[in-house]
């Protein structure tokens, strides 16, 4: 289907189902139950899952295929967000022009940075991109305050022109982002089934649509001659050069495409919540997407999406588990022992979520170098009976020994 072979079609269908049914999948526990705090099926987090999924898929197009490790990808995300918010301020609250503009601007920005940075490879390339991203961050934070509103963050105001839309709603407040007039990003429909409550949000489904589109394009790139050339760059760039192939146009194209993906993610973030802050461009945000990709499985198609979901889930759900909740969990223990256990466990929850995240990242990198995807494959192999020798070799991503 759509020019994909059977395996890729299945993969696309799986992602489509996951995206469409996410409100059900992410809310497995009834509202009133104690486990409801592990539910992730609320609009804001679902939107983040798919938006950061897009970001990571785009990053993987560069890192997974060419092996060029960009440490400044958050800059494109930030540029995308700023562009989108400016469209909301100047043109109107429709998200489509804003998203289109953010993709274009991020693409141009990526062209500029890529043109300079791709003159070097390896660690020098990473450092160059990191330097550019930090430069963008600092500029957004201070020098470019008229454009970015600095520390306060770029926000909509009542006095914005919005020449194609309304400047203010009838009751004098700032209009909200919409897809069509009347179809607002924040609109949700709720479905109550027994004790369960499922929320379907317009903004989420728009983002999910873009994720599927982005994923489809990523598959096509992976399977194309262009994708093959990028893999060749990763495995041995020198050999390519010796055979007379100029690799830089290919890597630059990959870098720009990847930057446009990040711009799309940034534009979507701003469409869901029209605010852009400089911290979106900080190096920690760039590091996060690297971790997402490696955690999920660099160079695999679905890995980055899984990694993004994994990290965002931790960041939003795990960080909410404070000491009171821990005391509830261990309330079956006698008082003294309970306090002791909570004291031991507490640093790993709540504000310490990044600590447990780090430990888990280390474990995955050490024991599953192929990320979550490799984990899935290993589990799959446990249940598969005696795989044919050739089949196992082709489906695995582990390096040849």
């Amino acid at each position: 289907m759509f020019g994909l072979d059977k395996k890729d079609t299945t993969l696309l269908l799986v992602v489509t189902l996951l995206a469409l049914l996410a409100p059900f999948i992410l809310n497995p526990f009834p509202e009133a139950s104690a486990l409801a705090q592990f539910n992730a099926g609320y609009p804001d987090l679902m939107q983040r899952f798919v938006i950061y999924g897009i970001f990571a898929v785009g990053f993987n197009l560069l890192f997974g295929l060419t092996g060029y490790l960009s440490f400044g990808h958050a800059a494109f995300l930030g540029v995308g967000s700023y562009s989108a918010v400016w469209i909301f301020k100047l043109l109107g609250m429709n998200v489509l022009p804003a998203i289109a503009f953010s993709i274009v601007i991020s693409g141009l920005f990526a062209l500029l940075i890529g043109y300079i940075s791709l003159r070097r490879s390896g660690i020098y390339f990473s450092i160059l991109t990191l330097a550019f991203a930090q430069m963008s961050f600092n500029m957004a934070y201070s020098v470019l305050t008229p454009i970015t509103n600095g520390e306060t963050g770029l926000q909509l105001t009542l006095s914005d022109p919005r020449i194609l839309g309304q400047q203010a709603t009838a009751d004098g407040s700032i209009p909200v982002t919409n897809l069509l007039p009347g179809l607002e990003m924040r609109q949700s429909v709720q479905l109550e089934l027994g004790g369960w409550l499922f929320t379907f949000n317009t903004g989420y489904y728009l983002a999910a649509f873009f994720l599927l589109l982005a994923f489809y394009i990523a598959i096509r790139i992976f399977r194309s001659p262009f994708g093959l050339m990028l893999r060749a760059v990763k495995s041995n760039q020198q050999r390519l050069n010796y055979t007379g192939i100029h690799t830089r146009p290919y890597t630059l194209a990959a870098f720009v495409i990847s930057g446009m993906y990040a711009g799309l993610a940034g534009g979507l973030l701003a469409s869901m919540d029209p605010l852009a802050g400089a911290e979106r461009m900080q190096w920690t945000a760039s590091g996060e997407v690297v971790i997402m990709t490696i955690l999920g499985g660099a160079g695999t198609l679905i890995g980055p999406i899984l990694g993004a979901g994994f990290i965002k889930y931790f960041e939003n759900i795990f960080s909410k588990i404070n000491e009171n909740i821990l005391h509830d969990w261990f309330s079956f223990l006698p008082q003294g022992l309970q306090d002791f256990v909570v004291t031991i466990v507490a640093p790993f929850f709540g504000e310490g979520w990044s600590l447990s995240m780090g430990l888990m990242f280390m474990a995955i990198v050490i024991f599953l170098p192929g990320g979550l995807v490799e984990g899935g494959q290993r589990i799959g192999q446990l249940f598969r009976r005696k795989p044919a020798a050739g089949d196992a070799a082709s489906s695995q991503t582990t390096p040849a020994e």
């Binding site: 609320y42 987090l45 909200v176 924040r186 489904y205 589109l213 093959l228 605010l275 504000e351």
Partner: protein
């Protein structure tokens, strides 16, 4: 290798299928946010009501955030009838009776704003969408307060601002669902300027370092306006990034600029660092233009004084509240806070505690948690007994008007908490302004939004 039969028709088909999938769940004409229950966002179901406490637990204002959280927990205890009741006993409105709000037990969720607008909004959103918070309160930075206030307006919940001192919070960014008890930069400048002119003389040149975001900007503009009225002249106003931890490079040019007063429009960890740097430069012992060089910090808190240590001695500034005030409300609050935590509360703690009580009282008086019932209950509300004397919640901009304290770093502290002295209490009339004052014009409250 690849099957690149990407045709126009194939693409159209993909688009149509994906479009149908996208449209299917949203085709029902839906209510917004979680308003499906009883006419407004997150209407409390069952026997409890959930409040969202969104405070910085990391970043330059983390100390303030921790103290705010302590105050919120204390307020929840008092509302639920535990502890000694604190300021509920001195509050002029007697609607609250220690059985929660409208008979529902008060519960809370907390979030970390990280002193970043983005993170604060994400955290507030998850409290509204996931935890069902009916009111969001907190924030130790005006950038965050403005961002979260806008979000609450859209979502249809009440926002009770915590520590936010920018003119914009109840000025050009004011919102119908947002309320601020804390004072603002204009009031600080109006209260401080006459005292400074009196103490340091009329003919002074001042140099300002300003935190580079909405609070710093409005604070600097207000100080400039009022100091120039007193005959002082400004040499320079230099913006510093909020994330800076070392200010030496910003301070180096000050002494050679000819200025004889340094005004630090910094707060929290920023101010602790910049003041410490200034003292290390020996600025406070210098004579410039034949006058003693002076440092002024327009907004001072106890936590900053504690961080700055001996450097704070003699420094003039303003505060919303101080634990050494001798009214009944303050005494009751300091007593119950001290009993629970072992030290006196900061002004951040006081404003957050009071905001929680004011919200609960408004809901109780209105007989409903509906934001559009609570807004009129707070608008124009006059109260007393919460530590600041008689106070008015003005209807035009949802700002509280009350006396402002001019404070000075204590030269001879008796203990580690005895850091600030109240130098003067500026009566509310002196700091009052019209809602369309040039520092506040351009905003619009809009209509209250209940999310229905």
């Amino acid at each position: 290798m690849s099957k690149s039969n990407l045709t126009r028709r194939g693409l159209l088909k993909t688009g149509a299928v994906a479009g149908a999938g996208l449209a299917l769940p949203t085709i029902f004409d839906g209510a917004t946010w979680a308003a499906s229950h009883s006419g407004f966002t997150n209407a409390p179901q069952g026997k409890t009501v959930t409040l969202g406490f969104n405070v910085p637990q990391s970043g330059p204002y983390a100390d303030e955030g921790a103290d705010e959280l302590r105050a919120y927990k204390l307020a929840v205890e008092h509302l639920n009838g535990q502890g000694d009741g604190g300021m509920l006993n001195t509050f002029s409105s007697k609607a609250l009776d220690g059985t929660g709000i409208l008979g529902k037990k008060v519960e809370f969720v907390t979030g970390d704003t990280q002193t970043k607008s983005d993170a604060a909004r994400a955290s507030a959103k998850s409290m509204i969408e996931k935890d069902g918070a009916i009111m969001i309160t907190g924030g130790s930075s005006s950038g965050v307060a403005v961002a979260v206030q806008g979000l609450c307006q859209e979502a249809g919940v009440i926002f009770m601002a915590g520590l936010t001192h920018s003119n914009d919070t109840t000025g050009k960014d004011k919102k119908a669902n947002g309320f601020r008890h804390f004072f603002d930069a204009y009031m600080s400048a109006a209260a401080l300027a006459p005292v400074l002119a009196n103490k340091y003389g009329k003919d002074r040149k001042f140099y300002m370092l300003t935190a580079d975001y909405t609070w710093g900007w409005t604070q600097a503009a207000s100080m400039k306006e009022f100091m120039e009225k007193e005959g002082w002249s400004m040499v320079a106003d230099v913006k510093t990034p909020l994330a800076s931890t070392d200010f030496s490079s910003y301070l180096a040019p000050v002494l050679s600029s000819g200025a004889d007063v340094l005004i630090l429009n910094h707060y929290g960890g920023n101010m602790v660092n910049s003041l410490t740097n200034a003292v290390q430069f020996g600025m406070r012992d210098k004579m410039v233009n034949g006058k003693q060089f002076e440092v002024v910090v327009p907004l001072i808190s106890e936590l900053m004084a504690k961080g700055a240590g001996a450097n704070i001695k003699g420094i003039l500034g303003s505060s919303n509240w101080n634990w050494k005030l001798q009214d009944e409300g303050t005494k009751a609050f300091v007593k119950s806070f001290g009993t629970k935590y072992g030290f006196p509360p900061s002004q951040a703690a006081q404003t957050c505690y009071v905001q929680t009580l004011l919200y609960a009282d408004a809901a109780q008086r209105a007989g409903s948690f509906n934001p559009c019932a609570i807004v009129p209950a707070l608008e124009g509300f006059k109260f007393d007994g919460l530590g600041n004397g008689p106070t008015l919640y003005r209807a035009d901009d949802h700002q509280c008007f009350k006396d402002v304290l001019v404070v000075q770093g204590n030269e001879t502290p008796e203990n580690e908490y005895d850091l600030l002295n109240v130098a003067e209490v500026t009566p509310v009339e002196k700091v009052m302004y019209k809602p369309d004052n040039k520092f506040f014009a351009g905003g619009n409250l809009g209509q209250c939004n209940s999310g229905a």
